[in-house]
Amino acid sequence: MELALAQETVARWQFGITTVYHFLFVPLTISLAFLVAGLQTAWVRTGRDKYFKSTRFWGKLFLINVAMGVATGIVQEFQFGMNWSAYSKFVGDVFGAPLAMEALLAFFFESTFIGLWIFGWDKLPRKIHLACIWLVAIGTFLSAYFILAANSWMQHPVGYEINEATGRAELNDIAAVLFQKTTLVVVFHTLTAAFLTGGAFIVGIAAYQLRRTSKAAKEATEPDTPGRIATMRTSLRLGLVTVVIAGLGTAVSGDALAKVMYEQQPMKMAAAEALWETEESAPFSLFAYGDVAEGRNSVEIEIPGLLSYLAKGNFDDAVPGISSVEALEKAKYGDLAEDYKPSIPTAYWSFRWMIGFGMASFAIGLVGLWLTRKKRWLADGKRRGEDEVPLLMLTPNRELGPALNTWAWRLAVLTMGFPLVANSFGWIFTEMGRQPWTVFGLMTTADAVSPGVSVAEQITSLSVFTALYAVLAVVEVKLLVKYAKAGPVDEQPPPEVPSLRGPAADEDADRPMTFAY
């Protein structure tokens, strides 16, 4: 028993580390694919230099990020078999299908067209080249969809029956798996969060670039890349708008998801609130200090009735507490698991960190959008041209004071990291909040591990991945910082390729490639 426990623990740590790490790159990949595609569309349609430079600049950062997403994604598919073979056997019939679909429909799309996009600048007609990045973006969306459908099935299994002879779950309705409410709401929530992440990433780097300009102007240092400010100014606005729209979407979808979860996994939501006893007109706890795990808080800030509203759409309804849900689950599942409670402090705090960090970047986006608003809303003399750094304007006539001004730019840079924290805690909450189940109501996590794999093997694997990921994180961040600091490059678009047959003139045959590894 002791050994089995250790095995489960190591396997869970590996899954947690590799998944949270992988998911640092996923939302950036999804949203930047769409945003770069949008910028390139603007360039192809208008031919304006700032859109070309934006496409190239954000495209480069996008690719640095994609490499890590792809690399860390490989592990995800295989570790189900490696560490969770009992799980794989039990659910492969249902769970394997969306995974295989993801590979066939989405991975091929992404990886084939990304190669065409990277190397195709001077080999494809502009519109076809543009279509490639859109196909990459669609591929990332489909990929997210299928994997979230698979995860939603673990949260709320549907469209299956248990085969009595083999004891395995068997699929009997693929549409139910792909289109159940949990899947749809989770996809909505994850995608909006992805755009919040990408938007904040752009805001952070663009703010850094603009901020550096105003400092450099005072010190008159090296010559600037032409069009850099216009490029970054447009990017900043694009990022801010994305953050605000996506932030709203994340809140709305998060609310919808909470209501779905109150229905499907009341324990997870009770744990999120550390709500021990069922309460009518339950309050929403903003902050608690004390022993959250035991439901005794010495300091607590609450908003009365809000929890009832969030859970049930009504300020007075009763919200089930941990004790009553546990009694229900004990009656239903007997002694499948020793304990039907997840870790309450983890659920309580990760839920708050998720909302807190997500909404902080939303708020920063909202304020930023106001401070950098359009020229016609500003007084004469306070307007700045397209190739100048915008003033941060409180009212049509008044700028932010120097200290506030400095902090506004700093916060804009910092906000880059906020959604990454929020995303991580979101997954930690949703996965740890489901415990002790791996498939809710069907299979416990303890029963899911590979019986034939030794703890030594698992620890080897866990250490190797952790060390490798740590090294790669350093490499990746250094590269991102290098390219983000360098800013857009002074370059001209490659000559228009007339047709798919390639460049018109033969002398092009010996021209160096536009891009090469």
Binding site: I74, G92, L99, F107, I118, E170, L171, V475
Partner: protein
Amino acid sequence: MELHDIWFALIAVLWIGYFFLEGFDFGVGILTKLLARDEAERRVLINTVGPVWDGNEVWLLTAGGATFAAFPAWYATLFSGFYLPLLAILVCLIVRVVAFEYRGKREDARWKRNWEHALFWTSLLPAFLWGVAFANIVHGVKIDAEGEYAGTVLDLLNPYALLGGLVTLALFTFHGAVFAALKTRGDIRDRARTLAARAGLATAGLALVFLLWTQGSGGNVRSLVALVLTVVALLGALAANQRAREGWAFALSGVTVAGAVAMLFLALYPDVMPSSLDTAWSLTVSNASSSAYTLTVMTWVAAIMTPVVLLYQGWTYWVFRKRIGVEHIPA
């Protein structure tokens, strides 16, 4: 013929696609140390697969995903049983992706050299380990009554399996050299052909022993046909390479890869993972497969999507059909 037989064939096709495509990727990665004389030549080689290696690797993810969906028990036993070799392969594939993408991202000689070392080793090791893994699958491993792997990692390193590893290593190096000869121009192209001839001869020697061993220990008439096809294709590829008919040489080295993988799967069928402890404990196409419903759904998806994937991946190769020489490498 039932659905699970069709899926066995489909999974064989996915692995053939993977080894055909990533086979030459691995080969090209190995050549960066064997063939290239300087930085420019290394970049020529890397860029012959530059636009396509990522798409090629997805064949592995698809083969893995399809095995999960169609034969969950096979997927579970294989990946938990071959735990450490698979871990090594995964680490290589991760580092390899990053090596491709990050090598040129800094103008620093040491940085580039480190990623080049990484690219070489992370191409070489999987090229060897995949052979070890497949040889073990075909040969049979210690699978107990519960369908769990009961052996140790040392059991996987038996002579037959190690020979299998050398075969794939030599074969992929050959396949990669033939591909490099087809995709480059200038001096490096001629040297690639010379190297292909040597690697091809080594492959022929190793493969003949390995395939005959396979045929002798668990072969059947169908696997014999595949064996003959493989050997003929390999000899044809060598002959075409000798005459500098690079297109033919590549097509035939591709058939060699396909034939060899097909032979292993034909020798395996109807088992998917035979048990060396008791044949009653072997995983077979029928006891390891998913329900008929899942297989039907997946058949529709595969039947529609596989041709589409082949079409657009094929188109990628057409777009980047031009040979690359050192003169094409930007500063």
